[in-house]
């Protein structure tokens, strides 16, 4: 029992409740401090629990805190409880740590907003739901958090609800996420029906520990479960085909984009797949789908980001693309690499979003990069921190993004094949290019804004710049905990997550350096069917291959190639958009401007959805569901029909209730007479 766990989750809820209930009575300063304070408490407790985990033996790093039994019906039992292991610890630290920085930033960014208190209530509620998602002890708790962050995302995207477009963006995010959640729920249902017959009472069927222990039983349904849950993940983590909501979500306040739509919530899908890796390793099919979708999304979103003019939309598509990398990592069985990139991405993408917020703040809410430029000298803190984020995202050594993205590309090459690697590799170069385009258009050249706006350009207050500086430091150093072996590092990050993803390896090591793979396979053959053998195979791929002879040469080659490729992207981006604007214009009109228009309009995917799903949906709703079913059947036949039937019958019956006493008696006596006659005659 580790009772600190519940407070990590619940303290932000208290903040949300206080701010939400006292929204009209709390002074701004108190509301802001309360919100930041509760998240700070969560962060401090997370650090404490992390220290406690660190003190334990690797194989025993698992703390739980059970509050109550939520549901107990026969064999079905669900607890309200929290658990933390190395994976949960990473997530809790990222969520509460980055969350705290963004809370502090919001103090400055939202300072003059009317909905200040409401904003912080939502933000705290979000932190609560996200921590519940990452620390929940079972899949149901995870799902509650999953829905909670979806709700907060909706509330915050349409935070400025007076604007029609913002409200529409919120609705779009909500509905697209619901479509994904449908897959998630179905996946849970399949897990439940598969496992339930094997449960003993009181054994939580959705508990991660139980599911992992019974994983071989899930093998027959693993592909179905894996695909259904991944569909849920495509909704939350904005992968093809459900990524369309994320760019629109930029309608929300910028700190929200940084916290929810870059650093935390959108990574929930990656976290969920990593958390349920023991199911995914049973199903090569589902893993392959995850890997392909991830790799395609990574490249696809990067191409769209090339042409966007809204500074936040570029970052949004970049997020979609980076989430694709994380999915690619999970898909090739390199969950550690996926989580590593999740963490570093949280640092530099939060930094970039907050930096863009600082720019937007300075530019009097202008978001179009075509009207920016030359901000370098006017924003002496935003500019270098933004540059750090850009370089980190582009994957330049020794910034954080280099280590995590390179790890993914290497694993993709090693475990997935050259095609998956190539998709990711191309995307990496594009990432560097579009980020440099963004920087060039924003910070270099001459300012293209109107005179009134120009006059107001200023550096942001300290509440906003201090988080920027901290995040910049993290973006630089965050990757150093995962320096891979071939560079002479110890890859502490992988070692840290090892007990979660490869428990067998730890056991094998503890037994005194047994041949890891051998031990796994022996265990697998001795105990259960081929399912575990497949799992072991993936595990071997993910861990063993790093030690291949000659692999180091390959790793060096790939790392150098991607570094050179990213540098080329950066230079080209700077040269085209910073130096020779004419080339940019020529690029636009290439091949009649068609490729440019296609990219600018995001491959017309929204239009395709509109034509194939939305319009027929409207038509179906209007012609069939509304006019036939609702008006015709329900209103006409059922509601009005029954009313008419009652009216007809009653109009007949009313004739007998005329209040004429003598008529009653007459009917009564006639009836008696008829009875008497009947019985007399029949006797």
């Amino acid at each position: 029992m580790e009772t600190a766990l519940r407070w990590i989750v619940l303290v932000p809820l208290c903040g949300a409740a206080a701010n939400g209930l006292l929204v009209r009575h709390l002074p701004r300063r108190a509301a802001g401090l309360l919100a930041c304070g509760t998240v700070a408490v969560s962060f401090a407790l997370s650090v404490r629990v992390f220290m406690r985990l660190l003190a334990l033996e690797p194989a025993e790093r698992l703390l739980t805190d059970t509050l109550a039994t939520w549901l107990a019906m026969g064999k079905l039992s669900i607890d309200i409880g929290f658990t933390i292991d190395p994976l949960g610890a990473v997530m809790a630290l990222v969520v509460s740590g980055v969350g705290l920085l963004i809370h502090i930033y919001s103090l400055g960014y939202m300072a003059r907003d009317e909905g200040f208190t409401r904003f912080f209530a939502y933000l705290n509620l979000f932190i609560f739901a996200m921590l519940m998602l990452v620390l929940g002890e079972n899949l149901v708790m995870l799902f509650v958090g999953w829905e909670g962050v979806g709700l907060c995302s909706y509330l915050l995207i349409s935070f400025w609800f007076n604007d029609e477009a913002n409200a529409a963006a919120g609705k779009k995010a909500f509905i697209v996420n619901r479509i994904g959640d449908f897959g998630f729920l179905l996946g849970m249902l399949v897990i439940g029906t598969t496992l339930l017959p094997h449960m003993s009472p009181g054994e939580g069927v959705f508990s991660f520990g139980t599911m992992a222990a019974h994983a071989p039983l899930l093998a027959p349904a693993a592909t179905l479960i894996g695909l259904l849950l991944f569909f849920g993940a495509t909704g939350k983590s904005a992968q093809i085909p459900l990524y369309i909501w994320l760019p629109d979500a930029m309608a929300g306040p910028t700190p929200v984009s940084a916290l929810i739509h870059a650093a935390t919530m959108v990574t929930a899908g990656v976290y969920m797949i990593a958390r349920l890796h023991f199911i995914y390793v049973l199903t090569p099919t589902a893993l392959l789908v995850v890997a392909i979708v991830g790799a395609v999304t990574a490249l696809y979103a990067a191409t769209i980001a090339l042409t966007q003019n809204d500074i936040k939309k570029v970052l949004a598509y970049s997020t979609v693309s980076q989430l694709g990398y994380m999915m690619l990592a999970c898909g090739v069985g390199a969950f550690t690499a996926g989580i590593f990139h999740l963490m570093t991405h949280a640092f530099f993408k939060a930094l970039l979003f907050l930096g863009s917020g600082s720019v937007i703040h300075a530019m009097s809410n202008e978001q179009d990069m075509r009207l920016m430029g030359g901000l370098r000298r006017r924003m002496p803190l935003t500019w270098p921190t933004f540059m750090v984020g850009t370089v980190a995202l582009a994957g330049i050594f020794p910034f954080a993004g280099f280590f995590s993205k390179d790890e993914i590309l290497w694993r993709a090459f090693d475990g997935g094949g050259i095609w998956l690697w190539l998709l990711g590799f191309l995307g990496a170069g594009l990432t560097a290019f579009y980020m440099m385009r963004l920087v060039s258009l924003t910070f270099f050249g001459t300012n293209r804004a109107s005179e009134a706006v120009k006059h107001h350009i200023h550096e942001s207050p300290a509440t906003m710049t201090v988080p920027l500086v901290i995040l910049a430091v993290l973006s630089l150093t965050g990757g150093w905990i995962g320096i891979p072996h071939f560079m002479g590092g110890a890859n502490h990050f992988e070692r840290w997550l090892e007990p979660v993803f490869h428990p067998e390896v730890v056991v094998a090591d503890a037994q005194g350096g047994l041949g890891t793979v051998q031990a796994i396979e022996q265990g697998a053959l001795g105990e259960t069917a081929a399912a575990v053998a497949i799992g072991a195979h993936v595990v071997r791929d993910a861990t063993g291959s790093a030690h291949h002879v000659g692999a180091e040469v390959m790793e060096w080659t790939l790392a150098s190639a991607s570094l050179a490729w990213a540098l080329l992207g950066l230079c080209l981006g700077w040269w085209v958009y910073g130096k020779r604007q004419a080339i940019a214009a020529r690029l636009q009109s290439l091949a009649g401007g068609l490729p440019y228009r296609v990219l600018l309009n995001k491959y017309y995917v929204d239009e395709a959805y509109e034509a194939t799903l939305v319009k027929p949906g409207y038509a179906l709703s209007e012609k069939v569901l509304w006019k036939s079913v609702d008006v015709g059947l329900i209103d006409g036949l059922l509601v009005n029909g029954s009313a008419i039937a009652v009216a007809v019958v009653s109009s007949i019956l009313r004739l007998f209730q005329n209040g004429m006493l003598r008529f009653y008696v007459y009917v009564f006596s006639t009836g008696v007479l008829a009875f008497i006659l009947y019985f007399t005659l029949s006797a």
């Binding site: 209730q657 005329n658 209040g659 004429m660 006493l661 003598r662 008696v665 007459y666 006596s669």
Partner: protein, 99 residues
């Protein structure tokens, strides 16, 4: 005089009473007609009682008297009240329940 005579008399009284209730509009007359019907029943009870040499029929007759007296008392009281309120005892005009 055999049993048949009594029964025919009773049937005739009952029919007269019933006709009174059905045909007349004055509620006082209707109450009296009900009394006639009750009396018809009493005659039947008494006749059978005599025929069987058994007293239980008489007991019912006495019960009937008591009930009829109570009914008349209450019925008349109600009628008097209705007359005070509506200035009529014509049942065809007393249709408040319907209207």
């Amino acid at each position: 005089m055999g049993l048949t005579h009594y029964l025919v008399l009773a049937a005739a009284m009952f029919l007269v009473g019933m006709a009174g209730v059905v045909i007349r509009r004055n509620s006082l007359i209707m109450l009296m007609s009900i009394e006639i019907m009750l009396c018809a029943v009493n005659v039947v009870f008494a006749a059978y009682s005599r025929m069987h040499g058994d007293l239980s029929g008489h007991v019912f007759v006495l019960m009937n008297f008591a009930v009829a007296a109570a009914e008349a008392a209450i019925g008349l009281a109600i009628l008097v009240e209705i007359y005070r309120l509506r200035r009529t005892v014509n049942v065809d005009e007393l249709k408040t329940l319907m209207e």
